[in-house]
């Protein structure tokens, strides 16, 4: 029972210069992948901003399709950065601004009558800011006559302390581009007409000027958030510095992010729960029907950081020494098993993606009684759970599992917990 601790000591007390260098290199690769991933997310979001400007400038079906395509493209690098959550405080504190989900979209714009009204959980589920320039929020009169990034970020987002009040980020933009998916488990995604953005005569859905304002403010905010996060991972940035300053904590952040994203977040909250609820809205990108890609690129992000390789959106490869090398040096078997588990999970997530791209949408897969869909989704879930088990073994073999204990107030003052 003292074994794990002994191993931990073996890795870090052996810390000759060579090993320390190697760990630093691993942490730098990790930070390089983060920096490149957020920079790619930023660049693709700027393309999205251009497409949105064109849509608002001259609304047409083609312009809306182009903007939707740009949103889908922007998700590819971003989802691969989700693996930097759960281990890095800077990312965790920021993430809710850009990728919060699920959302009560009635906060933002018009919704279908079947959506329901204010609920036990959320009084503002149908606030509809696009249609209402003035309203009261927690007793305070709000002037929303101009929809600005500041209004979205500081007043509306998580209004009334309700997490489902998502006013910013990818999914708010997704809703404005696609609208509600009213097809239930049937074929098709959201189908907002481009005329929702026509200014003046021909405007559908009402308040087209305010809808356009909202969309532009939303993408502007997304860009400033991504720009900020990219800088945190650059040389001298706070996120990179935090990872590099404590080797044990840095390595632990890598594996914690991998395990938490695989298990609690993707396999649990996003995939299994949606399947078990058979609710077509219980999918990560429910307006655009892009959920298969969300899961796939989340999985790829986990594989990226373990193997120390990320392919940028322009085709260049960021690579370097990885945590896989450190695990292999301790126990080649554990490393091989983990690599295999990551590949198996990617194959299972790939099957969901291929089926979806061939026309079997994710919201159809999770329909009650759809055995083929259930098998596909559970294949992904099981792959992610299995890889988590191997990630736990990697944590143990690197002796990182005693980490929680270090630097804890209670350890310094054990009596405190009895008071």
């Amino acid at each position: 029972m003292k074994r794990a601790i002994t191993l931990g000591v073996s890795l870090f007390s052996f810390s000759q210069a060579a090993l320390a260098d190697e760990v630093t290199d691993v942490l730098n690769t990790y930070a390089d992948i983060a920096e490149a991933g957020y920079a790619d997310s930023l660049a693709t979001a700027e393309t999205l901003q251009g497409a949105i400007a064109a849509l608002i400038d001259a609304p047409s079906a083609e312009a809306l399709t182009t903007a939707r395509g740009a949103w889908l493209a922007a998700r590819v690098p971003y989802q691969q950065t989700e693996v930097f959550r759960f281990g890095n405080v800077i990312v965790d504190e920021w993430e809710g601004r850009v990728n919060a989900w699920p959302l009560d979209e009635g906060l933002i714009d018009y919704v279908d009558g079947s959506y329901g009204g204010p609920s036990d959980e959320n009084e503002f589920a149908v606030l509809n800011v696009v249609a209402n320039p003035n309203f009261t929020l927690s007793g305070e009169a709000i002037d929303a006559s101009v929809i600005t990034p500041d209004l979205l970020q500081n007043t509306l987002h998580e209004a009334d302390g309700v997490e489902a009040n998502v006013a910013t980020g990818y999914h708010a933009i997704e809703f404005l581009l696609w609208g509600q998916d009213l097809n239930g488990h049937g074929t098709g995604a959201g189908n907002r007409p481009y005329t929702d953005f026509v200014q003046g005569e021909g405007c559908t859905g009402g308040n087209c000027d305010r809808r356009a304002q909202y969309l532009q403010a939303g993408v502007e905010l997304l860009i400033s958030d991504l720009d900020w996060m990219t800088a945190q991972w650059a040389e001298g940035g706070a996120a990179r510095t935090a990872v590099l300053q404590d080797e044990t904590a840095g390595l632990s952040a890598i594996l914690t992010g991998m395990g938490s994203l695989s298990y609690g977040e993707t396999a649990g909250e996003r995939m299994r729960l949606g399947l078990m609820l058979n609710d077509p809205e219980e999918e990560h990108s429910c307006f655009s029907d892009n959920t298969h890609n969300d899961h796939y690129y989340d999985g790829l992000g986990v594989q990226n950081v373990y193997t120390g390789e990320y392919m940028r959106v322009d085709g260049t490869l960021v690579s370097g020494p990885s945590i896989s090398d450190l695990v292999a040096a301790e126990d080649a078997g554990i490393d091989a098993d983990l690599r295999l588990a990551l590949s198996d999970a990617m194959r299972a997530l790939g099957r969901i993606k291929y089926a979806a791209e061939a026309g079997f949408a994710y919201d159809q897969m999770i329909e009650r009684g759809n055995a083929g869909g259930e098998a596909l989704v559970m294949g992904g879930v099981n792959g992610l759970i299995e890889q988590t088990r191997h990630i736990e073994r990697a944590v143990a073999v690197l002796g990182l599992d005693a980490l929680d204990i270090e630097g804890s107030d209670s350890l310094d003052n054990p009596g405190a917990v009895f008071q």
Binding site: M1, F86, R393, V395
Partner: protein, 333 residues
């Protein structure tokens, strides 16, 4: 197995103590899940005779079953994770109000799936398990919605489904999973005893986190914006009882894990007992008091106490066991 340990004892410089896994299985997991299976079987039988919401017998059987569930709800790995069984028993928190919504649809449309416990296993988890049954029995709207005949059968269906799932969990533990943990090191699921201990420690730590953050944290909300309507099972006035029941069960697990370490066992016993007595002085079964300053401070104090228990587990029990809790289902957001 014992021989191997004995030999290892001679060779290794470190003392190897008999692990706590057998004790936890024999005195915690198996008896608690057996109780869950038998209480829910009884619940299903009672529902066959008394399917109207106000029935005192049905409500009593519901309460005993939920006590049994809460006392084993932290064992969310292995048999209860596989086949999504724990999800089928307990979908909560329900932040989008899916449980009342799906039940209303069933009741108003009289969907035939509600008449058949086997078919019902395909139903959305929002309409299955203890939380759905609570709405059917206790919620003023749902318990009077639709026709009495359909509602009666739906209650029987949900109760039968709960009993079946609970039996599956217990059977799977007895026939398969307990041996995987006992024989850790000889199978691929648990490649060493440490891995089995890590799973148990994880269940303990996650259970405490769930009670602090969800059962207590959700109704507490913030001081300016308490959220009493989010209290777990407030309709059956079980919010406080569930917290108390979970602390008691988790305390039992903690002490068994500490095993032969007497001072640590004693510390853990005292700390858990204190939390339970703190729960006992709260006179607010549905936590509606979170909105009243006098009651609120007591509920906040209980939440702090549960968080301290988790800290105690992570900082004293975990190092003693030589492992840290693995990844848990609350790691996401």
């Amino acid at each position: 197995m014992r021989h191997v340990l004995a030999i290892a004892f001679l060779i290794l410089p470190l003392p190897v103590l008999a692990g706590p896994v057998d004790d936890v299985l024999d005195h915690h997991i198996l008896p608690r899940l057996e109780r869950l299976a038998s209480e829910t079987a009884l619940l299903s039988t009672v529902a066959e005779q008394h399917c109207d919401g106000p029935s005192a017998l049905l409500q009593a059987a519901f309460n005993r079953s939920v006590d049994a569930w809460i006392g084993g709800s932290h064992l969310r790995f292995g048999p209860s994770e596989e086949e999504n069984r724990a999800f089928a028993l307990a979908f909560w928190p329900d932040s989008r109000g899916l449980t009342p919504r799906s039940l209303t649809v069933l009741l108003t449309q009289e969907d035939p799936i509600g008449l058949d416990p086997v078919a019902y296993r395909e139903m959305s988890i929002a309409a299955r398990g203890f939380y759905a049954l609570e709405f059917l029995i206790f919620d003023p709207d749902i318990s009077t919605s639709g026709s009495e005949a359909y509602r009666c059968v739906l209650i029987q269906t949900v109760a039968a489904d709960i009993a079946y799932t609970s039996m599956e969990i217990y059977d799977d533990w007895v026939s398969r999973y307990a041996d995987l943990m006992r024989n850790a090191g000889e199978n691929d699921r648990y490649q060493s005893e440490d891995e089995a201990v890590r799973a148990l420690l994880g269940a303990l730590s996650t259970g405490l986190e769930f009670t602090a953050d969800m059962r207590l944290g959700r109704p507490l909300g913030t001081f300016d914006r308490p959220q009493p309507q989010r209290a777990e099972m407030r309709r059956s006035e079980r919010s406080l009882a569930n917290v108390r029941e979970s602390i008691a069960a988790l305390g039992e697990l903690a002490v068994l894990l500490a095993g032969e370490n007497d001072p640590l066992s004693a510390n853990l016993s005292i700390a858990f007992a204190r939390a339970i007595s703190r729960a006992d002085i709260i006179d607010d079964p549905d936590f509606s008091g979170v909105a009243m300053p006098g009651q609120r401070v007591r509920i906040e104090a209980l939440q702090r106490q549960v968080r301290d228990l988790r800290e105690l587990v992570n900082t004293q029990l975990a190092p003693e066991l030589g492992v840290a809790a693995g990844f848990n289902s609350l790691d996401g957001d």
